[in-house]
Amino acid sequence: MLKALQNLDRRWIFLLMGLAVGVPILVIGITGRTFPETPTPLAQSVFDAVNELDAGDKVLLSFDYDPASEGELAPMATAFVRHCAQRKLKMYFMALWPVGPRMVQQNIRRVIEQDYPDLVYGEDYVDLGFKAGNEAVIKVIVTDLRQYFTTDSKGTPVEEIPMMREVRSVQDMDLLVNVSAGYPGSKEWVLYASTPFGRSASNPEGFQTVAGCTGVQAPLMYPYIPKQLAGLLGAIKGAAEYEFLVNEWVREQRIAEALVAGGMAEAEAADLATTFAKSPGAAEEWTVSGAAASMSPEAKSDLIRVADAPIPGKYLEGQRRMGPQLVAHLLMVLLIIVGNVIFFMSRKRGGAR
């Protein structure tokens, strides 16, 4: 037995890992259930950095990743766009990676065009496209954005884009959001934009920077928190936490809107929305109580519909991928333990040293 385990073909491990990842995907895909997420302070600070902005504030979103890391980064990019769109922020998209514009367009199509059709290109969001030059691009646009970006990705001169009229450089932004798969990415944005021009004790009016990055990069980015980086989403776990926060907040917003439409005062509606968002069944119970007597039947059914509406699958990608993570990590821990047991048993019997 020990000998067989010592000489186990590594391809059996690959097969086990494939099953550990594949089976949970099928189970989650069929049942539609995801694991609950408890946001860490880092994900919370990313959420707060976006949420504390006022409608109309400017956000630069640099999507510096490609399809190779899409599985890890696309969920957080989607959550960022949804959060900004729901918050009615002005979004300036750009990319330092050649394939980045495809990721930008994908998010514009999936989130803005499908769920926020009221947003107008050029007034609420603009796609500035890709520019080559790595950190040199950042170095230039922090003082003069138009030197590099003379047109948007469609070839329209930036002077003719309404939302570009009040923007001269990155310093005119209120928040910088970077989703990064490597070089150039989060580190370069921190070194060349956030550190010299971002918000600090000596520059309280400067922009804040938040980032989402791959697991490989995350440990290198932690030292920049909180002074040079307001928050960080590390890999798929960070994405799932942020996604959870955004989904809860959007549900809360929509419930509050339904309550206000039903004739309730805004402050009271906000309080109730928080309760209903946490336990959706509570909204239905409330509508049959005396407190909802003044509400019309249409407004009540609208409230129940909003409170119980399932979250669209495209906004649950990160949370869905935490299921395979859990099982694969359990397998990994088990394999490490088994490997160590085999090693020490072999050594005891005079084998490996």
Binding site: G18, G215, K314
Partner: protein, 362 residues
């Protein structure tokens, strides 16, 4: 035929049979549907908005035919000269099923063969790459070569259209670029300074010539020098000075309670965190300080430094594993969802349950 070849032939035959069965039952699999959409643009002269600066003049722009500006300012002749084309928009399969249920002869939403073949190619390439886990093989090599070749080609084309055309040729030959490539370009005049990057670019490509390859070393030296200079400033400010500043922290870190006074537990944790951070920095620095032999007290501190480093590497390894599993999960999700239609997490097919998707009619 030896036993191994026989085993693999049987496995492949079973896999093919399962695939054929899957494709012919329920809703089928791996199909992409599109809807045709007419797009029309009109060239219209838009006057400056009310209250605009005196020097602002009318602009001639190409705008969508249904835009407010076109409705307001376009002349009949301009409307007649509109440019129109058909765009194929991808729609979820459920839109096709609904359209078919309403009218079986409808042609508004149709199967897109190129995009369907694209899904199949992506799936086959994904499996080809996975096949390397078993052993190196021709399928893996073909997939790898195609990925590398397509990536290189894509980078070149994007670099040409996003940088060389607008940022180099657009500066040196603005009228020509505006007339032939970028109608929206602001052709304000030739910027002769851009001759410098043009010359450097030509010198860099000179490496491909049979003689005079050394010429490329000059622009290369310029690139290396500029990058080094840029990075030195960035790293000194962002990494060195800022990190030193962030490490100068109080050992006792009092935290205020929400109701006033000091939150004792929060203060203890915050102070402990600062102490651990400072201890870690000093221990790791000691480990990398080789001018003193790592014996006695110095050796013990260096050993603590090793522990800190190992915990850091462990965290980095954990993050890397998490990242790789997420990538694997994304590929498997693509195979199960987009290719095999076994799951439908984004409600693309509008089916009540997975069984209905696979065997139909449930």
């Amino acid at each position: 035929m030896n036993a191994r070849v026989l085993a693999w032939t049987v496995i492949l035959l079973i896999a093919t049979a399962l695939l054929v069965w899957r494709a012919s039952t329920g809703l089928g699999m791996a199909k992409v549907y599109v809807e045709a959409e007419e797009v029309s643009f009109v060239e219209v002269t838009v006057p400056p908005p009310p209250g605009a600066a005196a020097d602002e003049t009318s602009k001639t722009l190409w705008l969508p035919a249904d835009s407010t500006e076109v409705r307001r300012y376009a002349t009949p002749a301009q409307r007649d000269a509109a440019i129109s084309w058909t765009e194929l928009q991808q729609v979820p399969p459920k839109a096709y099923f609904e359209a078919q249920a309403a009218d079986p002869n409808q042609t508004a939403i149709v199967l897109s063969w190129p995009r369907t073949i694209g899904i199949w190619i992506a799936a086959i390439f994904t499996l080809s790459i996975f096949s390397f886990l078993y052993r190196d093989n021709p399928f893996y090599r073909v997939a790898e070569a195609v990925v590398v070749g397509v990536s290189a080609g894509y980078w070149m084309v994007v670099g040409f259209w996003d940088v060389i055309i607008p940022n180099l040729l657009g500066k040196l030959m603005p009228e020509f670029v505006k007339a032939n490539f970028l109608p929206g370009l602001n052709a304000t005049g030739v910027e002769w300074a851009y001759l410098v990057p043009l010359v450097f670019g030509i010198m860099l490509v000179w490496r491909l010539m049979p003689k005079g390859g050394w010429i490329s070393l000059w622009p290369l030296a310029f690139i290396v020098g500029t990058t080094a200079g840029l990075r030195m400033v960035g790293y000194i400010e962002g990494d060195f000075l800022s990190q030193v500043s962030s490490s100068v922290i109080p050992v006792i870190n009092p935290i205020e309670a929400p109701g006033g006074g000091t939150d004792v537990m929060a203060t203890i944790w915050a102070s402990l965190r600062n102490v651990l951070l400072l201890a870690g920095i000093l221990a790791c620095l000691t480990y990398f300080f080789f001018s003193v032999e790592h014996k006695g007290g110095v050796g013990k501190i260096a050993r603590v430094g090793i522990w800190y480093l190992m915990i850091t590497f462990g965290a980095a390894f954990g993050f890397t594993v998490m990242g790789r599993i997420a990538l694997l999960a994304a590929r498997l999700e693509f195979l199960f969802n987009d290719w095999l239609w076994l799951i439908d997490p984004t409600d693309q097919r509008g089916v009540a349950n997975a069984a209905a998707m696979v065997i139909g009619g449930v």
